[in-house]
Symmetry: C2
Subunit: 207 residues, 2 copies
């Protein structure tokens, strides 16, 4: 489905709504109101109603939304109604933690192939995936049909790895290396930078 | 230093500028212009000049900013001119990766104490820190003077752990558990949720 003019901030909040709705469904709640979500997520209910209104009117006043239906709609909106194959490069501490991270599969993300250049890691199995030689990256990523790549190598190799992933038809990169990646325009890069998050947090401690 | 009315978005960008300026200093560049930063970070130079202008006028037209001085100013603005002690709870895959994460110390963040409730982990050393029994959390965190806490336990324990950290005088929490934390008003929580980042990314793939 394609929806136009949806603000980026709304897209940012939808996965949070979805996570909470899934939790409510698990505990057998059939309906969910914007008030429920607002309270649990510490947000403004009017904001939540406004976000959900972009996708049509599927709530009933006084009853709220049908939880299963709302979850299905959000998954469809977010493009999460099928599995996304991923390729991971760099099986160090962070890479290994990601290979065993249970949060991915819950949303349909699946690391299919993993690479490292360190001989002692090649051929080992981490989280059910056999680590391959980084030399095989392009071929193996293409064969796996992965459209998402995770860069978990040291900063000095991150740019090269990103370019090789893009060559293998990866369209989105989650970058854990603390460095800026230059990739072609059609490719999205998301930076996961824990130190930057900490820096922002401590700024507010002086007030 | 206290600066008023600085937009949150500016605060969010300052650590990115700082990281890039530090890289330039390392490669012996003495001056840095908003154009340099804009090109490297793929941003708008006018935006960067506007962000830096909140803190006074320390650039020279045509020459740019004195790199060392600008880095020092940003560190001071962000409250990064001293070490921040941290407490980490949950030494699983993610917790272990964080204990050995080199990015923290570069910015003055230092995990001083780490906890787990699993007997086989208590007493082991990870990244130079000896894992303590979670039962000792309040006492040990208070003694360590940690103002920052990292929650890397499973979702169902995250709320309890967060409350115990707050009791031990922690003012900011970096939460890796995929769940919302309810803490008292003076405490900041930052969520690191990789799956949510992926969800946002794939939304844009349908366009």
């Amino acid at each position: 489905m394609i929806y136009s003019d949806i603000p980026q901030e709304t897209i940012r909040r939808l996965p949070l709504y979805l996570r909470r709705i899934d939790q409510l469904i698990k505990s057998d709640q059939e309906h969910v109101s914007s008030q429920d979500l607002a309270r649990d997520l510490r947000m403004n209910p009017a904001q939540i109603r406004k976000d959900l209104a972009y996708f049509g009117d599927f709530g009933t006043r006084g009853v709220g939304y049908d939880a299963e239906r709302l979850a299905r709609e959000i998954r469809s909106i977010l493009n999460l109604d099928h599995t996304w194959n991923m390729a991971l490069v760099g099986v160090g501490n962070i890479g290994s933690a990601l290979l065993t991270y249970p949060g991915f599969e819950r949303r349909g993300f699946k690391v299919r192939v993993a690479f490292d250049k360190r001989e002692e890691l090649i051929g080992t199995e981490v989280g059910g995936v056999t680590v391959e030689d980084e030399a095989r990256l392009e071929q193996s990523v293409t064969e796996s049909g992965s459209k998402l790549g995770i860069v978990a190598v040291p900063s000095h190799s991150a740019q090269e790895v990103a370019q090789r992933l893009v060559k293998a038809n990866v369209k989105g990169i989650l970058n854990f290396a603390p460095t800026i990646l230059n990739v072609s325009d059609g490719v999205r890069v998301t930076y996961v930078d824990i130190t930057t998050e900490l820096c922002q947090m401590v700024y507010y401690f002086q007030e």
